[in-house]
Symmetry: C2
């Protein structure tokens, strides 16, 4: 990702327009849920190098299927970290493979720290010498504005993006995010900071380098947050397995069908195990289930949201 690249916002907007949909496929390899054809020779739990190679194979096969269809993928770091250094190597290989196939990579690490430690995290995942070279990174705002600034600086310098956790999709997201201070919920305070940085970095797309994670499972808040952060890309998790539908995410888009990407992890990558697909695909054709699930989600979004205008 050379610095002479167009901005992340520009690249994401162009990719969404080209694919005519805003789907990001979440790469969350969980050993127990992988297609049996991949894991049957997978060795013991302690055989991390073998498992890491199988994770990489699984992800590469998904990328082969989805790259003509969607603009971006979102690897979930936890599952790669679980396998130790070989898992981190597999992650780097998966990201490189995605880039070869013109997919943008939003790395889901939810990092956050202070001062020079935040700089180190930003450099680790977005920097010029990054072993991973993600296009964007998810970050956690709890440590405050000065903890996010080093990420913002690096993202802008490197034409990369950030997605700050604002309103997460889990039920317990309300515990702290919904506390009301100065007549606004905590997540609205975070949204104000995100919008500030997004507006500062907005380019010809109308959007900036700093976006927000806004769960699809809170429908009303999603519309409010779209209004409150007009310059921020929204990364919307919670579609599918977590219960949100295309109708639920309609409020995330602007009038052109831009400004948001919607993530689906398990509903796509483990589609072979979905009840409604039972018997439809042979065990060694799990990739066809991935494709069917991806196309189904794209169709639903086109039918129910502004995405149809892309």
């Amino acid at each position: 990702m050379p610095v002479s690249n167009p901005s992340f916002s520009h690249r994401l907007s162009a990719a969404v327009a080209r694919c005519r949909n805003p789907v990001t496929v979440g790469l969350d390899p969980r050993w127990e849920q992988l297609p049996a054809v991949l894991t049957s020779g997978g060795g013991s739990a302690s055989d991390r190098a073998v498992r890491a190679e199988i994770y990489a194979t699984f992800c590469r096969e998904i990328l082969d299927v989805v790259h003509p269809l969607v603009p971006a993928v979102k690897p979930q770091m936890a599952f790669f970290e679980q396998l130790g250094p070989p898992g981190m190597t597999a992650l780097a290989n998966v990201i490189a493979y995605a880039h070869e196939r013109d997919l943008l990579v939003i790395l889901d690490g939810k990092r956050g720290d202070i001062g020079s430690t935040a700089e180190a995290y930003a450099d680790a995942y977005l920097g010029a010498n990054s072993p991973w070279q993600a296009d964007a990174l998810t970050v956690n705002p709890y440590l405050g504005d000065d903890s996010l600034e080093p990420f913002v600086t690096t993202a802008r310098q490197r034409a990369a993006g950030l997605f700050v956790l604002v309103k997460t999709s889990n039920p317990g997201g309300a515990t702290f995010q919904d506390l009301v201070a100065d007549n606004r919920k905590l997540f609205r305070h975070v949204a104000e900071h995100v919008e500030h940085w997004a507006a500062q970095s907005a380019d010809e797309t109308g959007y900036g380098a700093v976006g927000a994670v806004t769960g699809a499972t809170y429908v009303e808040e999603l519309g409010e947050l779209r209004q409150a952060m007009p310059h921020s890309w929204l990364l919307v998790p919670g579609y599918g397995s977590q219960g949100a539908t295309a109708k639920d995410v309609a409020a995330a888009f602007d009038s052109n069908g831009q400004g948001a990407v919607v993530n689906n992890s398990r509903g796509i990558i483990f589609a072979h195990a979905r009840r409604e697909y039972a018997g439809r695909f042979a065990p060694d054709q799990w990739q066809r289930a991935v494709e069917a699930a991806t196309r189904e989600m794209i169709d639903q979004l086109r039918a129910e949201t502004n995405v149809g205008r892309l």
Copy 2:
């Protein structure tokens, strides 16, 4: 770390009593600040495997110096992640080396995610098959109570510990942590949850598996939080380079001098570059500066806080 181990709280309390001080040495290897004798042959910035080995050497030499003196060390993950998979291997080696020297390892990763992803992070760093096998992990509460529960469950099952970010030491920590909801600042709400889990898991030490990160730079809040979380270990960063003194952290301890550990990173590991030590140690004797700085901090805590009663 077999599950038949005594609890983390028990082990930490015993180590603090044995060393008669609550110092944790932060392992934050920053390339530019390492002693020149280590980096002079260190190759180019892209030579990550070489740098990772030098990070491991640097940390091992520090562990050789501090292991008879202090109860615990706190590796900062960001700096190891910056070097990619070889950095993560170095981290695993450093943790194993610390354990061989009877040091507890509080891994500073500030992780946080939802549901099964939080389980994966907990398993990655505290689980039975963890490549890193930390004794405790720092975690971020923004995603809410159900995002912390998988970490709490794993920590209790594995006799490990957690430190939840409550009040961080950076100036911008106030941005969100100090917002007032229901007449209490956000960090006090987080503290209530921490105390709940800590009380549930409290053992004969009076403390539980779930502690809190409470910055030394907010002196008044530190005393309040000691009162508000009587069953929680406090991990207190901000000593030294960030400006806090022994007097500032006095309120973190209980009447026996237990219940808190105080971290110092740069002030100890980069002591060779401290102005007040200029000319005192030859360049190839940087380890003696580490020892002097560690002993100085221990003495200051013994003089100014309840730690003297240990």
